[in-house]
Amino acid sequence: MHGGDSGTGKWSNGVSDDDEAVLLGRVAAEEVAAFEDLYRLYSPRLQRFVRGITRQPTLIEEILDDTMMVVWRKAYTFNHSAKVSTWILAIAYRQSLKALRRSGDAIHDEVADHADLSAAGPDDVLLQQELRKHLDAALSTLSTEQRTVMELTYYFGYACREIAEIMGCPVDTVKTRMFYARRKLRAWLSSRREAI
C-alpha cells in the first residue's frame, strides 16, 4: 500500500476522478441513467464504509438510500474543490451519524477513551496475531468517529487531510482520534491476551 495510492484506487473500476466528476455533472442535470451508474460504482464502497463505521447491518440499506438521495438532490452543489469520492463519503458519514442518533446508538465516547492511555504496552508478534483474529471485536470498542478514521486510513487509504474533509473537522482532530484509537485497540488486545 505504501507508495501513494491515495483515496479510492481499489474501488475505481478504471473510472478516473475526472470521469466521476463528469458523471456527477450528468446527475446534476437529473439524468437518471447517470445516477444509476454512479450508484453501481459507489454501492460497494459505501456498503463497506457504512458497515465499518456503524457496525449495524440493519442500518446499511437505509443509510445508503438516504446518502444517494442526497447525492441526487445536491449534485448541482458539487464545486470540484474536492474529489467526488470525498464528497460522497462525507455525505455517507453524515447520514450514518444521523441514522445512529435516530436509532439511539451512542456516537461520542471519546472522553471515556482518554482513561485508556496508560494501558498501552509493548507490541509483539502475538499481539499482531490477536489483531488479525479479533479485529472486528476490537473495533467495536472504539467510538464511531475513531472507527471512521481507522476505516478511511487503513481500508480506503485516504490521506489525513482528505479524512478531515470527509468528517468535516480539523486535521489535528483526525490525528487525535487516530492516536486514541490505536492506544485503545492495543490496550483491548493486551487485556484480552492477559485474560486467556
Binding site: R73, Q128, L131, E145, G157, C169, R177
Partner: protein, 210 residues
C-alpha cells in the same frame, strides 16, 4: 464535537508517531515522509509500531466482504426519484425556490413591496367593485408512469376513460401528472392501477400512496 484535540508540538518522536498510520498507507506529503523516514531509521520503537500498523492494515484488507446486489436498491431509488420528480412537476416554483433560495427571497421581497405599494395606490384611485366567479370543481392529482411502449392512442384512451386531464410531464423519469375530478377519482385510480400500461401510480395529495 467534544473530542479533545492534542497539539502535536512535542519532540520529533511524538510528531512522527502521529504520522505513522499515513506513512503506512502511503499518503504523506514529501516533507512529512522525509521527516518520518529519517527518524524511523534510528528509532526502534517506531519500527515496531510500523510492524503493528502494517498488521492492522492487512487485517483490514482480510475482512473484506462481498457487496450486496444493487438491483433492489436501484428499484427503491428509482421510485424515490420518480416521486421527487412528480412533486417537482406539481410544484415547479417550490423546486426552483429550493435551488435558488437567495434570488427567490429577493424576488419575494420585491413582490411584497410591489403589492403593498400597488394596494395603497389602488385604494386611493380605484372605485370599489365586485366580481362574481364560479367555483372550480375539485380534482385529485395523480402521478402516473406508463410503460414506454404505450402508444399515444392508448394513452389518450386511458385519459378519456378516466376523465383525466394531463397537467404535467413527462418528467425525466417519464412520469405524468394527471388531474381527475374528485367524483371520478376512486374509480380512475382503480382502473389505472389495473391497466397493464401503468407502471407507477401515486396520489400526490395523499403523500405518495396510491
Amino acid at each position: 464535537m467534544n473530542g479533545r484535540i492534542i497539539k502535536f508540538e512535542g519532540p520529533v518522536h511524538a510528531e512522527v508517531d502521529r504520522l505513522l498510520p499515513w506513512w503506512v498507507n502511503g499518503t504523506l506529503d514529501d516533507d512529512e515522509r522525509t521527516q518520518v523516514e529519517q527518524h524511523v531509521a534510528e528509532c526502534v520503537a517506531c519500527q515496531r509500531e510500523i510492524a503493528w500498523l502494517r498488521a492492522m492494515q492487512h487485517a483490514y484488507d482480510a475482512k473484506d466482504v462481498a457487496a450486496n446486489d444493487a438491483t433492489p436498491a436501484l428499484r427503491r431509488l428509482r421510485r424515490r426519484v420518480a416521486h421527487e420528480h412528480a412533486n417537482a412537476i406539481a410544484s415547479p416554483i417550490t423546486s426552483w425556490w429550493h435551488r435558488n433560495r437567495r434570488v427567490a427571497w429577493v424576488i419575494a421581497a420585491q413582490a411584497v413591496l410591489m403589492l403593498v405599494l400597488g394596494g395603497a395606490w389602488l385604494q386611493q384611485r380605484a372605485p370599489s367593485y365586485h366580481t362574481l366567479s364560479t367555483p372550480t370543481a375539485k380534482s385529485e392529482l395523480l402521478v402516473v408512469t406508463f410503460d414506454p411502449k404505450t402508444s399515444e392512442a392508448r394513452l389518450r384512451e386511458l385519459l378519456r376513460a378516466n376523465h383525466a386531464r394531463l397537467v404535467g410531464g413527462p418528467s425525466q423519469t417519464g412520469a405524468y401528472l394527471l388531474s381527475v375530478p374528485d367524483e371520478n377519482a376512486d374509480a380512475a385510480r382503480q382502473r389505472l392501477r389495473h391497466a397493464p400500461e401503468v407502471t407507477l401510480l401515486e396520489n400526490l395529495d395523499s403523500g405518495g400512496s396510491p
